[in-house]
């Protein structure tokens, strides 16, 4: 199932600050759009429950005191070998040949949840109100909407991300922004041992360091006069001379 075109997200974990703006914008767009509703139960109560296509998780890596915090947005990875698709008994789960987006046909889904068992990433969430399985659509109703200006034809999460940690594009096009980001910044796939070949990639955390050498602190290249004691004049100054 090698698609000519494969739309995907590239998420830069070095930039993500864990603000959940992608989570809320995703929910806002999709609950009222083609993929909606994304119903909540007991939303303002003690034990809220609900459907989201995107979650931001936080991990602590390393051993104290040498730890770092990784904010980790997680949504459907639109795998190139999606294990959730062939197991669907009704054909409701499918991967679009035109752009590689993995979607659910809500009119065919019987709500058996078997697809979710076959996703190692927990990307699918069941809508108990409609009784169908739901998942990230890459905002298929936005990105294909030609009434929108071209620069707005992106998933809601990408448009919402304040620091710009999320990129969107065709990973099969070697000159696309996402392909370059993967190539240049060590983009990787999640859980390669699962054999799913995810389309979404992540860019790793990078330590930002600047090396300062000793001689740079010394100002060795400056004229000595600037660093030295100001000259002391024993004789009359120009002010003295002008006192007469």
């Amino acid at each position: 199932m090698a698609n000519e075109k494969q739309l995907a997200l590239v998420i830069d974990l070095n930039v993500c600050v864990g603000c959940h703006a992608c989570v809320t914008s995703c929910k806002e767009w999709n609950t009222s759009g083609w993929a909606g509703p994304l119903p909540d139960q007991d939303a303002y109560g003690k034990d809220p429950d609900g459907v989201f296509f995107n979650r931001v998780q936080t991990f602590e890596c390393g051993t104290f005191p040498n730890t770092e915090t990784v904010h980790f947005p997680k949504s459907c990875l639109h795998c190139e070998d999606p294990p959730c698709v062939p197991v669907c008994p009704t054909g409701a789960s499918y991967k679009r040949e035109s752009d590689g987006i993995v979607l659910v046909d809500y009119d065919k889904c019987i709500g058996c949840k078997y697809c979710s068992w076959n996703c190692p990433y927990g990307a699918r969430e069941f809508d108990e109100v409609s009784g169908v399985m739901k998942k990230c659509t890459l905002c298929v109703d936005r990105i294909t909407d030609e009434t929108l200006p071209p620069d707005r034809r992106k998933p809601a999460c990408v448009l919402a991300c304040p620091p710009g940690a999320r990129l969107f594009g065709d990973i099969k096009d070697p000159e696309s922004e996402v392909s370059r980001a993967i190539r240049d910044n060590g983009g990787y796939q999640l859980m390669p041992e699962a054999g799913t070949n995810p389309a979404n990639h992540y860019l790793p955390r990078r330590k930002t360091q600047s090396v300062v050498h000793e001689d740079q602190l010394q100002r060795a290249d400056n004229p000595l006069s600037r660093e030295a004691e100001p000259p002391k004049f024993g004789g009359p100054t120009i002010d003295d001379a002008s006192q007469w």
């Binding site: 979650r55 998780q57 009704t90 065919k108 889904c109 019987i110 990433y121 927990g122 699918r124 009784g131």
Partner: protein
């Protein structure tokens, strides 16, 4: 994984139904190839098939409670090329159809001889249909087992033992049920069914013990390191991203304590295997004791299925460890 009662009832009920059908055909074959003159009336097989049909239908009914949109269930037969679930959806009605055919032919006494052999025996229509019924039952066992065995993200299930155990436990419960049924009617095959049932209980117990042993020694498929791709040995989740519940925290966790799972494991080994073995062995021939064995065994196998689900630890659980 969360044990869904619809699936627990589905798999145990159809397992017993398939086992009973296979037992009936085995009984017929035993009497046909045997040297004695003993035989059973068509009514014995017809009533037995009806009993199996009821179990299969109850299982089918239970399966509908697993679906959120049962009115679309017919669509589930369309993807048989790729989905074991779809194959089961085809195989289950096929087995039910074979049960109707096998029992119906016996009830009507339509039993033409299809082939004659040199030793004076012949292959009758009902026997031939019986063989096809057995094949259909075995195909359904394969489909049911493979639904779980092909989920590679649940290591406890992703094994040939899942298929073997579903088959052996279904056969064991079917033969014990057949023994009780035969004993009630005073049929000559009671001993055959009870004896085979004992062997099958032991085999099923051995298979289940192997899978319990295997599950206790499994290495996880993935670690957090690969799950988030951070090159660290020591990673812990600070938050899964929400304080409430989600599908991911409900469907993939059984929500009971490890002690409950441990207790139910002991319970099903005792009640699903040891107790029915003792009842069948000691009360051989007594219909009341055999029916008691059937009921005790069924309760035990329900518990077994619960443990089977509860022990399934899905890879996605790596992402759902902690709230903050």
């Amino acid at each position: 994984m969360r044990p869904a009662f619809s699936v627990l009832f589905l798999t145990t009920l159809i397992g017993a139904g398939q086992g009973l059908l296979i037992a009936l055909v085995c009984g017929q074959l035993f009497l046909v190839v045997g040297t004695g003159d003993a035989s059973l009336s068509g009514g014995f097989y017809a009533m037995g098939s009806l009993l199996a049909l009821v179990l299969l239908a109850l299982g089918l009914l239970a399966s509908f409670f697993h679906l959120a949109n049962p009115t679309r269930a017919w669509r589930a037969a369309t993807q048989w090329r790729t989905s074991w679930l779809s194959r089961e959806v085809i195989a289950l009605p096929a087995v039910m159809g074979m049960a109707v055919l096998y029992g119906g032919l016996h009830a009507l006494g339509w039993d033409a001889s299809l082939m004659h052999f040199a030793n004076g025996k012949s292959l009758d229509l009902t026997m031939a249909v019986g063989f096809v019924t057995v094949l259909a039952c075995l195909a359904l066992f394969l489909c049911t087992g493979m639904i779980y065995a092909c989920v590679k993200f649940i290591r406890e299930w992703h094994s040939v033992w899942t298929v073997i155990n579903y088959t052996l436990m279904g056969l064991a419960s079917g033969f014990v049920l057949a023994a009780a049924y035969a004993a009630s009617l005073g049929a000559v095959v009671t001993g055959l069914y009870a004896g085979t049932g004992l062997v099958l209980i032991v085999l099923a117990l051995a298979g289940r013990a192997v899978s319990l042993w295997r599950n206790a020694r499994l290495k996880p498929l993935a670690t957090l390191r690969g799950a988030i791709g951070a090159p660290h040995q020591n990673i812990r989740q600070v938050t899964q991203g929400f304080n409430g519940k989600s599908f991911n925290t409900k469907e993939f966790f059984h929500g009971k304590s490890p002690e409950t799972v441990k207790f139910l494991t002991t319970f099903f080994l005792a009640v699903g295997f040891a107790a029915p073995f003792a009842l069948v062995a000691l009360g051989m021939g007594s219909a009341a004791v055999l029916w008691l064995a059937v009921m005790v065994q069924y309760v035990g196998l329900l518990a077994e299925r619960w443990v089977f689900f509860a022990q399934g630890n899905h890879v996605q659980n790596l992402y759902y460890q902690r709230k903050a």
